[in-house]
């Protein structure tokens, strides 16, 4: 009895299967319109058609709008170009570099970017704070000639007797007339131990001077300092960029200023595009007593504070004013944000750039690299300044005629000194109140500045945490 029942079930299932098959074959039979040959052919194709059905499934939308797979699209297109493209020879490397650039572009994050081997090498030099050259700082004069602004102390340029205001006429016998300052820098730099011949015109010397100089590893000068007011003990330190060497140079600057009896300090972070995260922690530790300098927020939300490094507390405490502007970005904002939150100094200038993202550089096997935004950072009290910037305590706009090389035109610096004097008790507090009042009126402007992606601001838009170009200074170290 039981056996019979199983047989019945099997029979029923078989019946259902046959019903399905007949149903499945019917459209083809109808389509064959009585033609026996086609009828049989269509039945012979039945197994294959069933297979088709199984592989296709019923999901129609999947077939039409599946997103393109990245790697497959890239390699299929590249192979296709190599096989069938008619035109210039396919440069696989160039195409791949541009493909990566395109892919990163889709993320709409200007800081996640590709660096070709040359760009990556330049970035590494800047991060390490070294380059191989002769150590002369170059600039362009009013006649458009490239001249030596200053030979850096202890460098081959200094030892070879190159002097400030020497105009460069030729490099290795090639005249540099009509060449851009960056091109001249490129010509002078070269591998360590090689020689470069400079032809110079020196003021009040009738004949050209020729110098053959051996290239050496030279450190970028990232810190400049001087006493602004010897009588009142007002010192000034400017930090151009955050790299591996800058803290050491910064330490030296503070030591020297202390020898000159500094009692109050202006720290200039204007046009500082940032640089290495660690350097920001180092510099911040010079001023802040304890607590975090910055809080790194990883993907997923985990917060990792980076604390003050106490071994950097080897200097005295004195009143501090920090100068910032719309080009102060990244590491510069970490330092000024920490100082502002802590209250150890006063921020003067205009709202900062607003870059609150940390990039990690991933070197690639062919010497190129990719910078990827891997984390956010927050100021010690938890503020995300990305695309917002940091508002200074006292707002002072630069004037139209501001010339970075001429301190007399620098109203922001003048105001910073006034603020410092108030803090040092040299001026009454009312000066500060007055300043705050007048600064309120022409505001709106700063908002726009940091958002503008115009060519003038582009240099800083491009800057990325580990290693930034000191562009916008109009000056290059050689």
């Amino acid at each position: 009895m039981r056996k019979l029942r199983i047989e019945k079930i099997i029979l029923a299932v078989f019946l259902l299967f046959v019903a399905f098959l007949i149903g499945f074959a019917t459209p083809d039979v109808i389509a064959s319109r009585g033609d026996l040959g086609r009828w049989i052919a269509s039945l012979q194709l039945l197994p294959q058609r069933l297979e088709d059905l199984a592989s296709q499934g019923f999901d129609e939308s999947a077939a039409s709008s599946k997103p393109l797979p990245i790697i497959e699209s890239y390699s299929a297109t590249l192979e296709r170009l190599k096989a069938d493209y008619y035109g210039a020879k396919i440069d696989e490397k160039k195409l791949t570099y541009n493909a990566i650039r395109g892919m990163l572009h889709a993320l709409d994050d200007p800081f996640t970017r590709f660096l070709d081997p040359e760009e990556y090498k330049k970035m590494r030099e800047e991060n390490e704070g070294n380059f191989t050259g002769i150590g002369a700082q170059l600039d362009t004069n009013d006649n458009g000639e490239v001249y030596v602004k200053e030979p850096l102390p202890g460098t081959p340029a200094m030892r070879a007797g190159i002097k400030a205001n020497d105009v460069i006429i030729a490099v290795d016998g090639k005249p540099i007339k009509d060449k851009d300052i960056q091109e001249v820098v490129k010509m002078i730099r070269g591998p360590e131990g090689t020689k470069v011949k400079l032809t110079l015109r020196r003021p009040k010397v009738s004949r050209y001077i020729t110098k053959v100089i051996t290239r050496e590893v030279v450190a970028f000068q990232m810190v400049k300092w001087r006493m602004l007011d010897e009588k009142n003990g007002i010192g000034y330190v400017r930090l151009y960029q955050f790299n591996e060497k800058c803290d050491e140079q910064f330490d030296k600057a503070l030591t020297d200023l202390e020898r000159k009896h500094v009692k109050g300090l202006v720290l200039d972070l204007r046009a500082n595009p940032g640089g290495l995260l660690q350097a920001a922690v180092d510099i911040g530790s010079r001023f802040i007593e304890s607590g975090p300098i910055v809080i790194i927020q990883e993907r997923g939300g985990e917060r990792r504070p980076l604390y003050v490094e106490e071994e950097k507390h080897n200097h005295k405490r004195y009143p501090l004013v920090v100068l910032v502007d719309q080009h102060s970005a990244s590491a510069a904002e970490i330092v000024s944000g920490a100082i502002k939150d802590d209250g150890v100094g006063t921020l003067v200038g205009v709202k900062t750039f607003g870059k609150g993202r940390v990039q990690t550089i991933m070197p690639l096997e062919d010497g190129s690299a990719v910078a990827i935004t891997t984390a956010k950072y927050l100021t010690p009290n938890g503020t995300d300044i990305h695309k917002k910037g940091i508002e200074p305590d006292i707002k002072v706009e630069a004037t139209e005629d501001f010339d970075p090389n001429d301190p007399k035109t620098d109203v922001q610096l003048a105001k910073a000194v006034d603020v410092l004097k108030v803090k040092m008790g040299l001026l009454p507090k009312s000066v500060l109140e007055e300043m705050k009042k007048t600064a309120q009126s022409p505001k709106a402007d700063a908002d726009e500045v940091s958002e503008t992606k115009g060519p003038l601001n582009r240099a800083s838009t491009d800057e990325v945490k580990p290693g930034d170009k000191p562009s916008g200074k109009g000056k290059r170290s050689e």
């Binding site: 019903a19 990245i70 390699s75 008619y86 791949t96 190129s368 010339d403 109009g474």
Partner: protein
Amino acid sequence: MNTFRRIGLGFLVGVFFAVGYGARLHSMARQVDIQSSAKRSQSSAPGVMVAAARLEGAGIDLRPLSIMVTVLKSLREHYVDQITPEDEGKMARDLLRAMLASLDDPNTRFLDPQQRKLATEAAQGKFHGIGAVLEIKKIKMGDLTEEHLLVVAPFEGGPAAIAGLQPGDDIIAINGRDVLPYNPYQKADKMIKENRKKPVDKTQFRKKMDAEAERVKTGIPILEAENLLTSEDSGEKVLTVKRKGSAKPITLTITPRAFTVSPVTSSFIDENKLGYVNINCFTATTSEKLRAAIRELNSKGAKGLVIDLRNLVGGELDVALEAAAPFIPGKPLAIELRSRNRQSTIKVPDCGPNDVWRGPIVALVNYGTARVSEVLAAALRDNASAKLVGENTHGDCSVVTLIDQPDGSAISMTTGLLKPVKSAAFHGKGLEVDVKVAGNGNASSDPQFEEAVKTLAAMTAMRSAGVATRARSRS
């Protein structure tokens, strides 16, 4: 009980039959879909299939691939925001766009699904936007090499043609917004460089830089500009174009709209002794319409023929070959050069004897006669002793293949170059005409047409019947 079971079983049998029936119908419909989409990629490119990954194989350097894999892996694992499948789809498209753009070849580029759809519709004679074929081309001007948005040709009867847009026009602004090249900062960089070399007054320089920054800020990126003019958007567009021979930029107001172009129009000139055939676009029905026109001309005893190839941007090679059949049946159209030194002669198919045109031919061409059309013009001259009247042609003999992608986008790629069999190659130069006559824009007279009739009349050794009555119909 047993009856109940039997009824249940019977019902189930019925259901299974229906499911099987439905499944097969569905499967058939899908098959048709797949076939037609395969045909779509076939039709746009003979012998082309959807690209497949072929990674293994001798002599393939895997390094670029492994770099790409490393970058993608790093992004997936470390990028500050989780990368979604939608992000990846966009990344793949931007990747292809940038990679293909770096070849600096106007015909090799990425088409997003919207643009791909427009290409399909164009092959059916349906057009959108201002109604013109545009191309993005790098042009060196002074010491700046930038991409320009150029008019290849306006379509017959479209808004652009009616407004007077001409082949070769360089579109420099749309609604007052400057068309920006891929790198819009080149001009600013150049200004900074020049200022470094030769500093000018500081406030003056700053003003100039501010104006430049404003220009870039308000400008329209070239890809966006192209989309704006070719897509289904219908708002009025004020175009500022630079035209050869005109010192000042010209302003044109065009209202885009969707329109359909009749592939072929024909008529008689001069009391049925001369025929006029105007090919307006290459579609699936172009050849059929053309043959019908030729049949009619033959039956009425036409002695000569003017073929108007002006403002005709060639489409698919197969369609053009079919269109060439009544004039040069069985003759070679051109030699196709392909990569890795492959080449083959492209032959025009044969044609029924009633559809063949055996009389003298004058072909009207201009700068808007581009791609396959100009190759056709050269073949008509070489094989059917046609005379070319008008202006030199565009000079683009590329064979372009469309490769459809699974997401509806496509890759357009130059896969070959057509070269006349008998005469000299003219790619990059343009085909020289036999009788040069400048066009007259949108004016009511058509000196090129009149010259063509004159030339044809001389060829048919007929007495020039004074001013030819112009019976050319405009659609």
